[in-house]
Symmetry: C2
Subunit: 188 residues, 2 copies
DNA sequence: TGTACATCAGTGAACGCGCGTTCACTGATGTAC
DNA sequence: TGTACATCAGTGAACGCGCGTTCACTGATGTAC
């Protein structure tokens, strides 16, 4: 294979970002190589730097993409529960505190799956902005003011701990306890 | 330098674990090399495998050490507030949700700082046991039953997010919101 | 208590490997006429 | 609409580097007598 059409090239770039958004959440930024990412998108690693300035630049784009997926999911929930944010939120929490979500980080909440990596990114890392924007929007969707931020904290903490505690009975317990705490917080 | 006394050798091994417990929390397991760890303990990297079976084995020991430090801290709080767990807990929360704690992960809560790495450890990783034991003990100290687990979730989530959001106004807000949520949860 | 020597904690060079990144090359795409 | 050729998306080999791990060596420690 050699040169492809411009439309195909745009699609290829897009697929790299999609795969990065998935794999960075699943294995961590340091756990995925440029070659892994390109292979996941069906390409060889040599062309990477034709499309991205660096791995760091892709981390920023993939972070934005992962939160864009989350925004879409929230919009779908709203359209399935028109004028009923409480109902939409209940459906989100059903998913959020599920064993399936715990076991599939690659398709799950980016605030949690990328949180540990983001905490160690350089202060000027270009990924920090899309991350902060994403968390802000997620918190606002959950509840007004600081209640939303507290909810995100409990949700992200419970999910991260349930993954770190996988294999222990605590893994399921922390999900259940987190859910009760969030529901009480938003109700109260 | 060459052979040292057995007592010195034990001290050296101990210092490597202490430095690992600090550096793994600060930079992540993948962010610290064996050579970094040995250098931090004032040694050269060659001798590492005389004292540890592998880097993975050290991760397990360092995880245990980090939680041992936490247990000591909690015991100190109890002895400073005899028969007054509420007072001890209030002092812990003052520290936990502080900017200083956010900015010094190496000396801070291992449940949070090691959580992201632990979530991606292999299911049979020897580090999972000391991690789970540590989280269980921390939760029990905070409150009875699931209330303690919910508190750890909110605390770990708020601290992780505040680090990931460093540089944004949300960083301080999520700490404050997390603290209010924990206090309401434990009081309720 | 003193001597002779085996042990072994720590050193530093080396190993194979995979990383992020670069680059000369290929050949289909896109365009100028 | 058809031809000639410049462009450039993707390839695959190569780069320097740092990783986890191994190993021959050194010389002070610990022990047997």
């Amino acid at each position: 294979m050699a040169r492809v059409s411009q439309a195909q090239a745009r699609q290829n770039r897009d697929r790299v970002i999609d795969e990065a958004a998935r794999l960075f959440r699943e294995r961590g930024v340091q756990g995925v190589s440029v070659a892994d990412l390109m292979a996941a998108a069906g390409l060889t690693h040599g062309g990477f730097y034709k499309r991205f300035a660096s791995k760091e630049a892709l981390v920023a784009e993939a972070t934005g993409r992962a939160f864009a997926e989350l925004r879409e999911r929230l919009a779908e929930l709203d359209s399935r529960h028109p004028g009923d944010r409480d109902g939409a939120r209940r459906e989100l929490l059903d998913f959020y505190f599920s064993a399936g979500h715990r076991d599939r980080a690659g398709e799950g909440c980016p605030a949690t799956a990328l949180g540990g990596d983001m905490a160690r990114e350089a202060p000027e890392s270009p990924a920090r902005e899309p991350y902060a924007d994403g968390v802000r929007d997620f918190a606002r969707w959950l509840a007004d003011d600081d209640e939303g931020l507290a909810a995100v904290a409990t949700m992200a903490g419970a999910l991260m701990l349930s993954r770190a505690l996988a294999g222990s009975p605590l893994s399921d317990l922390v999900l259940a306890a987190g859910r009760r705490a969030v529901e009480r917080g938003i109700a109260g």
